[in-house]
């Protein structure tokens, strides 16, 4: 039950924050906890895949994208 609340909070934080790097970190945390939730819901395959793909690849992609574009969301 606590994890679900954490997930929703993470989602809101990602939606509100201006700094994309912070958003990416929160998103990685969001994926990890999502993997945890799936493990609780008796779906271990998904837990591993979500951890590897969601937290791993997707967050890495966001980091690279921010690296190659800009970090702050609101432009001058």
């Amino acid at each position: 039950m606590g994890c679900l609340a954490f997930l929703v909070v993470c989602a809101v934080v990602v939606a509100r924050t201006r700094d994309l790097l912070a958003a990416t970190v929160v998103f990685a945390a969001y994926s990890l906890v999502m993997a945890l939730v799936w493990q609780q819901l008796r779906a271990p395959d998904l837990a591993i895949t979500e951890a590897a793909v969601g937290a791993g690849i997707t967050s890495l992609l966001f980091l690279l994208a921010i690296g190659r574009t800009r970090r702050m969301e609101d432009e001058d």
Binding site: L20, W38, L41, D45, L46, V53
Partner: protein, 122 residues
């Protein structure tokens, strides 16, 4: 009074739908492209959470059989996991493609703001 109790019993579904809606709102509402992609991911993981919650049953075990093949206890629904696995991979490939488009657009016009991109194109 039935409504809150009914919803409380289905907490997982509520959380999943909330995530879906937050993701949808970010995807459609936010001008920044990378924020949109994050919203897309949150939306899709919301749907996946909804799907996995459908497959869960109280006191059920993970759908991994033991070699002995003896007991036939209560297992979680494996079909749902298969569907979500496919969904995760679809989400990743869409994210990869969208982000590379975003990078290329930034390279050409120096902005991630959808409204500015629209004006630049015209």
């Amino acid at each position: 009074m039935g409504m809150p109790l009914a919803l409380f019993v289905r907490l997982n579904y509520m959380a999943a739908i909330t995530l879906f809606l937050i993701g949808l709102h970010v995807l459609l509402g936010h001008p920044n492209l990378i924020k949109k992609v994050m919203g897309m991911n949150i939306m899709e993981t919301g749907v996946f959470l909804f799907l996995v919650s459908i497959g869960y049953a109280r006191h059920s075990a993970a759908p991994i059989m033991s070699p002995g093949g003896a007991e036939s206890g209560l297992y979680a629904n494996p079909l749902v996991s298969a569907i979500v696995l496919t969904g995760i991979v679809i989400a990743v490939s869409t994210t990869a493609y969208t982000l590379s488009l975003t990078i290329k657009l930034y390279e050409h016009c120096g902005t991630l703001d959808v409204n500015r991109l629209e004006r630049l194109r015209r």
